[in-house]
Symmetry: C2
Subunit: 218 residues, 2 copies
């Protein structure tokens, strides 16, 4: 069924979280990929654990805690100023190169973002990449004080857009996020840019693309 | 306050999950630590993600899925027989060397286990290590069809033992599990054998030991 709206995940899907470390991490370590991967992993783990514990701290705090934990784990020597620059850079991640052209083409349906980020973080990332005009709604998990893949977060999509879940296409590059959206009832596209192995947790996406420029125009 | 009972986590706390790969993984890879670490990581991630999605599959299935995902991710060539042997070996992990002596000494209060494992998995691991006589209760998250650190799992402790949460000492080597237990209201000991960096998610343990033989007798 043709989707009546498209909702995008933000970090990892529209925005390249690795660009943050590339921009602001060079003074700290020669192995930027290791820091970036660990930071992302600790960030996601913290969202999952706190959510399961039924505790909440916002995504800005989670992101800073995860960075400090990663730096400690890697035994890096980092000043407070360097940490501040990394956290600041997280507000302006680069979008992936396929994002702009893909959004230009998707004229058939309203577009939105549903992200773990706080409203301030999402708005800053969208604005930094001049993507503001494309999105009707920027929806933050902060509204329900828990994180993906909780159904309470995915429920914000249909509630905000006032469109039934089954009529919305949810697009994510995070396999676990695609699985969570599918379990909730969205039409789901997994954007697998990196050729990652599929792990759909038992909830396979409806289709997979290798870049957002391959998304069919709804 | 002196605890009236002690509840232990199983995998990673009493039982060395790495012993499984040491016993049954040698034919598969030369880098046993990498396989073991990735298997454990994918196993835990799967419990957290499925729990947050409000879906459930038992810990036996989670463990097998995680093993298959890890093998695929590491590009290892493995036969079905070899996978079966690893899954079988997971039913008889070795206990850490400090476990037996520690349990012998802890005569002041009833002891129990609260684990993500299915009843069959917990019983098999306890029995394999001749630890059956020490434990009054083997409590499985399977009863509530979700996983730690959900408060619904931790609630099984006081409910089963009929002792208030605050009067029970919960012992875990998994920092996130210690945090979850603390957030729920237990007295908590983090058993940090490996000298891992603390990440208590904002819920610090009451005390930390470097081995179970350092536990004070209640």
């Amino acid at each position: 069924m043709k989707p009546k709206a498209v909702i995008f995940d933000a970090y990892g899907t529209l925005f390249d979280v690795h660009s943050v470390v590339l921009r602001a991490g060079r003074a700290i370590t020669g192995n930027l990929q290791v820091l970036s991967d660990l930071w992302r992993r600790r960030q996601l783990e913290r969202t999952w654990l706190l959510s399961l514990m039924e505790r909440y701290e916002d995504f800005g705090r989670v992101t800073e805690f995860a960075l400090r934990a990663s730096i400690k784990e890697l035994n890096l020597e980092v000043s407070d100023g360097q940490i501040e620059r990394l956290i600041e850079a997280y507000l302006s991640p680069d979008s992936f190169p396929d994002v702009g052209p893909a959004l230009e083409r998707l004229t058939g349906a309203p577009l939105a973002i549903l992200s773990n980020g706080t409203p301030r973080m999402i708005e800053a990332a969208v604005s930094h990449n001049q993507l503001t005009p494309f999105f009707g709604e920027l929806i933050s998990a902060d509204q329900v004080k828990t994180y993906k893949p909780s159904p309470r977060v995915y429920a914000l999509g249909p509630a905000t857009l006032n469109i039934p879940t089954a009529d919305i296409l949810f697009v994510s590059s995070n396999a676990w996020d695609a699985a969570g959206a599918k379990a909730f009832g969205y039409q789901v596209c997994w954007c697998n840019r990196s050729g990652a192995a599929a792990d759909d947790l038992g909830f396979a996406p409806d289709f997979t693309v290798t870049g957002l420029d391959r998304l069919p125009n709804p």
